[in-house]
């Protein structure tokens, strides 16, 4: 005899995830529950308690705590709790305590499991928690890293010291001595283009202690000459909304020691390396500079051994994946730049201008320690194989061998400038990319996903930007190509069985493991690339692409931030895993064994993979095939 539970079913039906279940299912659930009454301020579950029910607040209110006693969430009528414990070995992770007299419905584990098995949406709902445990996991990480994640304005200790462009070198030096600063900003009056006719003071250049040494003392310049003759004109600057880590990376990338910070084009301070080094105590900051000072491949190879400890340090300093990926990419770029300089010293000046390209993860600023070299060459249109071919073959070989010596192994897919296929003139590259976009066969798609993330590291780097803009423009005009690229982005799926758990791979020695790159970050980057090309974003970093994608509004609400959190989380698990392996003296890889990571990481990984899985599903609908 079936007891119809109209009252309970009617209640459940008002709230998700039950509101999305079929009526008869909710009716069934209603007959299976247990009920209990709790007075205010009573523990429903303590940390570590065994739990075998999904709980629904029927009336009253319940507070959920973190293990450390901090309030995690406050629940009221219709809210769920206990799902985390149910998904994590039936142990309560987040204690629950009533705030008011409360009536709680308990849905037994057997029913919970049935619902999860039968209803994707139900599973997803309980997996994702009420307010995204994943974003909690990521944001708590951010908090702990308050330095590098803070704005540059926080690091500025004083107003900038400035001098008028009409001053002499002597006056400039005197002012620097008076103010005891190591850099001076030179201001000039310019006509404000936007406000017709108005004159404003703008930054013209920067003069540093080092400039006084190298450009004044060493050259015996006239101290009464104009300061503008010895200053660095149009210096690299950052806007005041930049983050400290961006400042760090900018300084690394351009090998700067002083970085003016602008607010509405007006300098508000100068950031010196020492401002950052105070926090970035270890010398990962100087890595880039050190690389550029080495004078042979052998010396570079010696420096390269420190890259790994630099990586481990950043992990310990709680840098986020964007910072670490960018720093490792900057370091990788520095190796390429120095190797190219050394190559030119050995082979002579290039016969025609060229641009050396980094591809893939380095171009996306997402490089880690385990990486091979993906690179290519753009040659001037005047390039003639007969005449110049030998030079560039030699140049490519020098760099490629040098990179290998520095730990960036040869690319097994031969995506290297040493491969004559990947040394093309600007015109040839455009033709090649057009061909891939017009005829997206499997090989073209595979190549697209590598070559479309390109970054100029040396030479005519503006060509790389132009080529990138060309690709973005062409892709935007080709829905068919985007549809194909979208399909291609689904080739690698997250390692999730139908909700139940991780699907492990049995490859060689890595038994029962998950490849976080192949099953996580790579498909995420693929997916983000498709959206980025669709919205015309020229960014290459996945996080920056996501910013553009979110701004364009093509994703359902919150999906963009979910993707960002998922990418950050999977990346960080991968990064921490590699750091641990390095510290243990092992060769780092991308394979983790879910049994060996914490419950916290395992659960959030699952959520992150769930986000990826859903986003892949969305991709299919967003970029349908259209017959043309």
């Amino acid at each position: 005899m079936e007891a119809e539970q109209i009252e309970i079913a009617g209640f459940l039906r008002q709230y998700p995830p039950f509101s999305r279940l079929p009526e008869q299912t909710v009716n069934y659930v209603a007959t299976q529950i247990e009920i209990s009454y709790y007075r205010a301020d009573t523990d429903v579950y303590c940390f570590g308690d065994e739990i075998h029910d999904l709980c629904v607040v029927r009336s009253g209110s319940v507070e959920i705590y973190r293990r450390n006693g901090k309030l995690y969430n406050r629940l009221s009528e219709g809210d769920l709790f206990g799902q985390l414990g149910m998904l994590m070995g039936n142990r309560v992770r987040l204690p629950a305590r009533t705030m008011e007299d409360s009536l709680i419905y308990f849905i037994p584990e057997t029913v919970f499991t049935e619902l999860c098995d039968q209803f994707d949406e139900f599973a997803y709902f309980v997996e994702m928690d009420d307010n995204g445990g994943l974003s909690h996991a990521v944001s708590s990480k951010k908090d702990s890293n308050d330095l590098l994640g803070s704005k540059v304005t926080k690091l500025i200790s004083r107003e900038p010291v400035t001098i008028d462009a009409g001053s002499t070198i002597r006056q400039a030096a005197q002012k620097m001595t008076q103010e005891s600063v190591s850099s001076l900003l030179i201001m000039e009056e310019v006509a404000d283009v936007e406000d017709s006719g108005d004159i404003r003071r703008a930054l013209a250049g920067i003069l540093t202690d080092r400039d006084l040494r190298t450009r004044v003392v060493a050259t015996g310049a006239d101290l009464d000459g104009s300061v503008t003759d010895v200053m660095t004109r149009n210096p690299v600057t950052l806007d005041d909304d930049a983050y400290a880590f961006e400042a760090l990376l900018t300084m690394l990338r351009f090998n700067l020691h002083h970085l003016p910070i602008l607010e509405n084009r007006r300098p508000i301070g100068v950031l010196a390396t020492s401002d950052i080094v105070r926090y970035e105590s270890q010398n990962s900051l100087y890595m880039g500079g050190t690389i550029l000072r080495q004078s042979s491949v052998e010396e570079l190879a010696r420096v390269a051994t420190e890259v790994k400890s630099c990586f481990v340090r950043m992990v310990h300093e709680d840098a986020n994946s964007h910072m670490i990926g960018s720093a490792m990419s900057v370091i990788g770029r520095a190796f390429k730049q120095r190797l190219l300089e050394l190559a030119e010293e050995q082979l002579g000046k290039p016969p025609v201008p060229y641009c050396f390209l980094a591809l893939g993860s380095m171009a996306r600023d997402e490089q880690l320690v385990v990486t091979d070299q993906d690179n290519a060459l753009i040659l001037d249109n005047s390039y003639d194989r007969e005449q110049h071919g030998e030079y560039f073959e030699g140049l490519a070989k020098f760099v490629s061998d040098g990179l290998d010596a520095c730990g960036y192994t040869y690319c097994t897919g031969l995506i290297m400038a040493t491969n004559p296929r990947w040394r093309k003139t600007r015109r040839e590259w455009e033709e090649c990319f057009s061909e891939w976009i017009d005829n997206p066969d499997p090989e073209a798609l595979l190549n697209s996903s590598i070559f479309f993330d390109l970054d100029g590291v040396y030479g005519k780097t503006e060509w790389a930007e132009q080529l990138n803009a060309f690709v973005v423009r062409r892709c935007g005009q080709s829905p068919r190509f985007l549809a194909c690229l979208a399909r291609n982005a689904l080739n690698r799926t997250p390692p999730l069985g139908f909700f139940k758990g991780f699907v492990m791979e049995q490859d060689g020695k890595h038994r029962k493991s998950i490849n976080l790159k192949r099953r996580g970050t790579a498909p995420l980057a693929d997916l983000v690339r498709v959206h980025a090309l669709a919205v015309g974003s020229t960014a290459r970093n996945s996080f920056e692409r996501l910013d553009d994608i979110i701004k364009a509004g093509i994703l359902p609400a919150d999906r963009g931030t979910d993707l960002r959190d998922a990418l950050e989380f999977i990346s960080m698990v991968r990064i921490r895993h590699q750091a641990l392996e390095l510290e243990a003296g092992n060769e780092p890889d991308n394979n983790i064994e879910p049994d060996n990571i914490s419950d916290f990481e395992r659960r959030n990984l699952k959520e992150a993979f769930m986000v990826l899985s859903n986003a892949q599903r969305f991709l299919k609908f967003r970029y349908p095939f259209t017959r043309k």
Partner: protein, 238 residues
């Protein structure tokens, strides 16, 4: 038949033992043989069953039970999964009035079984448990009288009356006197009003099962607020 509602039973266990030996009906024998919790049993260890009837009227001697709802529970959990709900065909026509009250109509009960047919599973569900009802006169007197009419012997059991527990709190003579003096209406001890005082939700529907669940929730709340886990059951049952 002893009037259990006026005559306090001092030793329910002894009464159950005695009844199990003298009663004729096998179902009753089993019910009594299962015994009832000892009078000193702490509340935290008492198995309860909330019971609610819908009837054709208010006179147990002539009126009949048309539906039964029950749900087993203890201080920790109310087990809806083990709840039972029967519609019964009364031996007497349904009054228009009672149809209005509980909404059970002739056509609803035409194909329903007689109480006698469900007595086995009903008593089994009550076996070894302390019955809980809101306003005990209905559940205890009706079951006793209806069973008596069918098999010639009645059924007796201790009961916790959630309405009585509320009355003890709100209807003490002095309080009532003061309230009257002040011109206030006496505090309602109807099920819905009693529940509201404990922050329990309002249930719109009123079948026997919903009311049984509502009663179980109310007792949990009353015990949580006014008694302790260690209070012996004898302080509550009648």
């Amino acid at each position: 038949m002893a009037d259990l509602n006026t005559l306090a039973v001092s030793d329910w266990s002894a009464l159950f033992r005695e009844q199990s030996l003298i009663c004729e009906d096998e179902r009753l024998q089993l019910f009594y043989a299962a015994g009832c919790p000892a009078a000193d049993t702490p509340l935290s260890e008492v198995p309860f069953v909330a019971l609610d009837f819908e009837t054709t009227g208010l006179n147990a001697d002539v009126d009949e039970i048309v539906s039964i709802g029950l749900v087993p529970f203890d201080l920790q959990r109310i087990r809806v999964r083990e709840a039972k709900h029967w519609l019964l065909k009364p031996r007497q026509e349904l009054h228009e009035q009672s149809v209005v009250i509980h909404g059970i109509t002739h056509s609803d009960v035409d194909d329903a079984p007689d109480l006698n047919a469900v007595l086995g599973p009903l008593l089994e569900a009550l076996s070894g448990r302390v019955v809980v009802a809101h306003y005990r006169y209905i559940e205890r007197e009706f079951l006793d009288a209806n069973v008596q009419r069918r098999i010639g012997e009645g059924v007796q059991f201790p009961i916790v009356d959630t309405m009585e527990l509320e009355a003890a709190l709100y209807r003490k003579r002095f309080t009532v006197f003061c309230s009257k003096l002040m011109g206030r209406k006496p505090t309602s001890i109807r099920l819905a009003d009693s529940r509201a005082r404990y922050g329990l939700p309002h249930y719109a529907s009123h079948d026997a099962l919903v009311d049984a669940i509502a009663t179980a929730e109310l007792l949990q709340a009353q015990i949580r607020h006014r008694y302790s886990d260690d209070t012996p059951i004898k302080e509550l049952w009648i």
